[in-house]
């Protein structure tokens, strides 16, 4: 993958990329911002009806969708905001019946 090419905090001004332009795509993969998370969602496939209401509200593209079905969370950038948990139609059900639960992350 083509990450932020050669940019680091030790560079003198003449080596830093002009105007901060990021050269290359997919560069966010170089930074694990999921590490900032305090709360964490969990997906329970057996309770999921695949309504797909959760993935569009995710601010960090942490819910991968393939063949019109969501899959396991990608926690690389998930900040644990809980929006997916709140938007899930199973939110009012008991924890055992929920498709997404939300709890303090065990670090």
């Amino acid at each position: 993958m083509n990450y932020v090419k050669g940019v680091n905090q030790d560079q003198p001004w003449y080596e830093v990329n002009e105007a901060g332009t990021v050269l290359g795509g997919g560069t966010s993969l170089a930074v694990n911002t999921g590490e900032w998370r305090i709360m964490i969602p969990a997906w329970h496939e057996k309770n999921c009806i695949q309504c797909l209401l959760c993935f569009p509200v995710c601010a960090d593209s942490s819910i991968p969708v393939k063949d019109e079905k969501r899959g396991e969370f990608d926690f690389t950038h998930c900040k644990g905001c809980g929006v997916c948990y709140k938007v899930c139609p199973t939110f009012r059900k008991t924890d055992a019946e929920k498709a997404i639960t939300f709890e303090k992350e065990d670090k």
């Binding site: 083509n2 940019v7 905090q9 560079q11 003198p12 001004w13 003449y14 830093v16 002009e18 105007a19 901060g20 332009t21 990021v22 050269l23 290359g24 795509g25 997919g26 560069t27």
Partner: protein
């Protein structure tokens, strides 16, 4: 040699834009620059250019659209005046900080309040620290020539900064005068094609304008400052190339009867012509006076300018904008500062003049030259922060 024409300053800029045929032009009309996008829209409608003309809803949007188009890789231009430029304020810094070579025709007009549509330089002077190169034009010819050169300067790899080309609202923008245009084909060759190093539309996936942390912002600001320093040489190189094409020579400033002068006036834009008239009158009486017309205000030609005036006894710097610093206008403080390290330097005083379209007469300049005579006699500047043309002020 060229095409003999008579055009207003606004028409001249519109023709320059037509000959440049930029990829994108986004503009919102404002007096006294309205005619430029108006003429340009006609060129678009008539199929004389293939520019994407974006009729935006404000100047803030005009500059935003220009930034986006330039980031996409297009050659991009806009036009404005006064409060229109003020409304672009936030985006001016974005354009220069993102290192986008946008060109902007500024038709100088006073800022409100009280509301006024006439000429002074408070608009462009307010934008002097925004990281834009600023070229000033005495008449329609210079507005046209400067505009054609502006994109070559802006797009140079050692510069990559936006450029504003200023001329005086109404005084030159609406005055019809003789002009020599360059044949369209020659202009096309001179301006060439803009090939950005990186652009959003292109083969490589890139992000332009990302958040800049304290670990990088300062380095990027330093790069921008270096680009401004680099631009001086590029301006001179492009001007030399332009002179080879047209025979019209431009430097960082024009020296008028300065060689043996003892007193001089430093001035921008159309008033320079009137100052030359006053200079001629006094020269005819044997007085050793001269005029220095600054063409390039940003970057400020520190060494060249201070050297050019070091032999003088007294200098009056004319500001058509007040900075309300209570110590003089923006041109004055820069000129005076530029002379600080000179071993011998002239007395330098400031005159604020011509605000809000107050007509600036030959007599105003002879009066200033006379005041300089007194400064020379006294061998001290006296009051440095002066005004000419205000009722009740001597």
């Amino acid at each position: 040699m060229g095409i003999r024409e008579r055009l207003s300053g606004n028409e001249a800029v519109a023709i320059a834009l037509k000959q440049i045929n930029p990829d994108v032009l986004a503009a919102y009309p404002i007096t006294p620059s309205t005619e430029v996008p108006q003429y340009f829209a006609q060129y678009v409608a008539d199929g004389e250019v293939d520019t994407e003309f974006i009729a935006v809803e404000s100047e803030h949007s005009a500059m935003s659209a220009c930034i986006a188009a330039a980031a996409a890789g297009g050659r991009t231009a806009t036009i404005t005046s006064a409060c229109g430029l003020a409304l672009m304020w936030e985006l001016l810094y974005v354009a220069s900080g993102t290192r986008l070579p946008i060109t902007l025709a500024v038709v100088n007009r006073a800022l409100s309040a009280p509301i006024n549509i006439n000429n002074d330089h408070s608009d462009s002077m307010g934008a002097r620290d925004s990281g834009w190169i600023q070229l000033y034009s005495e008449n329609n010819q210079e507005a046209y020539d400067n505009y054609l050169m502006s994109l070559r300067i802006a797009e140079h790899k050692d510069v990559m900064l936006p450029v504003m080309v200023c001329q005086d609202g109404f005084i030159t923008s609406h005055a019809v005068e003789n002009i020599e245009l360059i044949e369209g084909e020659k202009v096309k060759n001179f301006v060439g094609e803009y090939v950005p190093k990186h652009s959003l539309i292109g083969g490589e996936p890139i992000s332009i304008g990302p958040y800049d942390t304290p670990q990088f912002y300062f380095e990027h600001a330093y790069q921008r400052a270096q680009a401004m320093i680099n631009s001086k040489k590029v301006i001179l190189d492009v001007s030399k190339e332009f002179a080879a094409l047209t025979g019209r020579e431009y430097g960082l400033f024009e020296e008028y009867k300065m060689e043996d002068a003892e007193r001089a006036i430093i001035v921008l834009n159309s008033s320079a012509g009137t100052a030359k008239g006053a200079c001629d009158l006094l020269r005819a009486k044997g007085e050793k006076v001269g005029v220095l017309k600054l063409r390039v205000f940003r970057p400020f030609p520190l060494e060249e300018l201070s050297k050019a005036i070091s032999h003088l006894k007294a200098v009056a710097v004319m500001d058509k904008a007040d900075s309300f610093s209570a110590m003089g206008g923006p041109l004055f403080t820069d000129v005076r500062s530029a002379c600080y390290d000179l071993k011998t330097r002239p007395h330098i005083i400031n005159y604020i003049y011509g605000l809000g379209g107050r007509d600036v007469r030959v007599e105003d300049f002879t009066l200033v030259f006379d005041a300089l005579k007194q400064v020379v006699v006294d061998d001290r500047p006296g009051e440095i922060y002066r005004h000419v043309g205000v009722r009740g002020v001597q």
